[in-house]
Amino acid sequence: MTRHANAESPRGANGDAALVEEFVENWRGLDGDAWIASGGRDAVRRAIGEAVKAMVGDGEPETRRRALAWATADLASLELPGLLAEQGLDYVPWPSGSGGRGTADLPVATDDRDSGADVAGAEAAAPSSAGLQALAASSDLGITTCSWVVAETGTIALYATPATGRLPSLLPTAHLALVRPSQIVKTVADGLRLLADYMAQHGGPPSAVNLISGPSRSADIEGDLAVGVHGPRRAGVIIGDW
């Protein structure tokens, strides 16, 4: 999908800098974290290290930290397992549904947060779902890429497919998304046009598309802003090419 967005990108390289700046300003305005990594793969890896330190550094020291990441070819070249181990995090790949590893060899979630997961266990298909949910819910960080990014609203778009599941951007305490500068478009309509291209190629939209604009928030108590209500408490992006 990232390839797709690259190919359809409506501007030249000159437009990118202004869009990166606009996106970062709006994303930060929504209480999102952003790191700009210009300098290729090494710079992006360094930024991931910084992001991990900033976003999951304040956890309880006695629990084991875990990062759940999409296991796409795009992310493989960043060699996340070693990089995360340096930061004290276990790397868990999102199991690809077809052809990839099955759910059987997933690490078992060990803390108390998976206690509610086996309630749905009566159904034959449910245990793997419940196990995955428990795993994601007890992860400290979810790592994903995205399909396109909107500068003027500070928004990243994620498509749900077998390899790019919904949970890593939803249940972990923090979510980190890797963004290529060429994926940034100006308006929501520009982004939806990229989705229209996807629909034309695939005969319709993915089962779920999530547009995410910063960490989850609410103003339901006396109109006072609270960040991190149900979704991730922190949402970070790294902008760079690798």
Binding site: R113, V119, E123, P205, R217, A219, V229
Partner: protein, 483 residues
């Protein structure tokens, strides 16, 4: 046939009295409505593209309503082709029956809900709870309201009438019931952390998620869900079964229509350019996917909507439930949402409640809960002519002779007198005569009949000694005499 809405509970005068006697609620409502109205204004001022999109969005919305039936058929075909189920519900009982059937077949015990006005409208929670299901509202505001056993007081911020101390008390009680540790304090972060912890368990344990929907895109059978907290994503991603209950009015024809509409609920509702989470859901999880619901059901709710098509009230169906009309309404700002006795409060509630539930359900709303100041007409991003509709509903009510004969006679005579200049001058002279007797301390007091009732709670300034007409005639006579 109109639809069916839950009963108002108490009488209008009782509800109004209760609201006016609650200064904490009134202060909270005044604060939150002003803040939201200011944020909306600031958002549009800083984002000119938003206004251009809004104008196009109105056209898109009206255009889709004009061919609603065709679009509903197309939507149904698209969803079924992708393995989803679609059901049409005429009213509350149909929805309840469908949801309970699915729950029974799929062995559902626990349900999580994301905020939905459609399910409030049909009191779905009560129907499910009566059948023994455990239902949890997961929007922070709705969770507070559910714990308090109340109905939402605002379309967008349902618990905006509650103070943080009241919220803490509710959470403390819930902690005792669930035998968990209570919130550590009444700071927003502490209260939110408690709700997050409690509701996370509900999300992971639920078998069924019930959501509403902000829009439906007919051409691909896509449900658009907008939330800020992420509870919408949880509700539609984690449980095995997802049921969306959506009013038929939420449909748009194409994705192009959505380009301009998508940001409008946020811009007019909270002053954001886009809500934190916007989710497009097209059917259940696909082959090979390891997350997302195994089943997707859409229940299309009519409940009196279809009857509005082609009527003078059709544009009401374009409402996007942003709450902008509530935030600018002087009546809403004074009495808050619960006095309306309906899940739809404020100007849109004054119109929608009698239109969906029948005028007998809420004759008092068009009659008494509007000052005809037209602030809502300016605020509505979909350009719904709310004041015109309120006047039309008043007219219907009078035509049906629902007013006492004294009121009808007074207005009839008033109308006759003021229909010609002589009558108008005559009433003026009589009024000036009358006010010599009843004018005390510069205001009208103790006059008999309807006038006395009117001035008992309002100040009527005295009429001038000389009317404008008299002054004008005297001045012309004097100037003619001078030349």
């Amino acid at each position: 046939m109109p639809g069916e809405l839950p009963p108002a509970g108490a009488t209008w005068s009782e509800r109004r009295r209760r609201a006016l006697a609650d200064p904490a609620m009134r202060a909270a409502v005044a604060k939150s409505t002003r803040s939201l109205a200011d944020k909306k204004e600031a958002a549009f001022a800083a984002y000119p593209a938003g206004e251009a999109m809004r104008k196009r969005a109105v056209i898109a919305r009206r255009g889709s309503l004009a061919r609603l039936d065709t679009l509903l058929d197309e939507l149904t075909r698209q969803i079924e082709a992708r393995g989803g189920h679609v059901s049409r519900a005429a009213g509350p009982a149909d929805v309840g029956r469908y949801v309970l059937d699915v729950a029974r077949q799929r062995g559902v015990g626990r349900v999580v809900k994301s905020k939905s006005m459609a399910t409030e409208e049909i009191a779905l929670n009560e129907q499910l709870e009566e059948a023994g299901l455990h239902v949890r509202e997961t929007d922070l505001g709705e969770y507070i309201i559910q714990l308090a056993g109340e109905r939402p007081a605002h379309i967008l911020v349902p618990a905006s009438h509650k103070t943080r101390q009241q919220v803490r008390t509710l959470f403390d009680e819930e902690a005792t019931r669930c035998a968990v540790s209570p919130p550590t304090g009444d700071a927003t972060a502490e209260l939110t952390a408690f709700a997050r912890r409690q509701l996370r368990e509900d999300f992971l344990a639920a078998d069924m998620g019930i959501s509403g929907g902000n829009f439906l895109v007919a051409e691909t059978g896509t449900l658009v869900l907008i939330t800020n907290e992420g509870n919408g994503r949880m509700t539609t991603s984690l449980p095995r079964v997802h049921i969306a209950v959506v009013g038929i009015d939420k449909i748009v024809a194409t994705w192009m229509d959505l380009h301009d509409l998508l940001q409008q609920p946020a811009l007019s509702g909270t002053g954001q350019r886009l809500s934190t989470y916007t989710t497009f859901i097209t059917g259940p999880r696909r082959e090979g996917e390891l997350d997302g619901p195994e089943e997707f059901h859409l229940v299309l709710l009519d409940n009196g909507r279809h009857e509005l098509l082609g009527s003078e009230f059709e544009d009401v169906l374009a409402c996007i439930r942003c709450g902008a009309c509530l935030n600018v309404c002087p009546v809403f700002r004074t009495i808050g949402g619960q006095a309306y006795g309906s899940m739809y409060s404020g100007p849109i509630g004054v119109v929608l409640t009698p239109l969906l539930g029948g005028l007998d359900r809420a004759p008092e709303l068009p009659k008494s809960a509007c000052a005809l100041c037209y602030a809502c007409a300016d605020a509505c991003p979909m350009e719904i002519e709310l004041p015109r509709h309120i006047l039309a509903l008043r007219r219907t009510e009078i035509e049906r002779s629902m007013e006492p004969w004294t009121v009808r006679l007074t207005f009839e005579l008033w109308g006759r007198f003021w229909a010609n200049p002589a009558g108008f001058r005559f009433t003026g002279r009589m009024a000036r005569l009358g006010q010599r007797i009843y004018m005390r301390d510069g205001r009208l007091q103790g006059a008999p009949g309807l006038v006395g009732g009117w001035t008992a709670t309002r100040d009527a300034p005295p009429l001038a000694r000389e009317s404008f007409h008299e002054w004008w005639r005297r001045r012309r006579r004097a100037s003619r005499a001078g030349t």
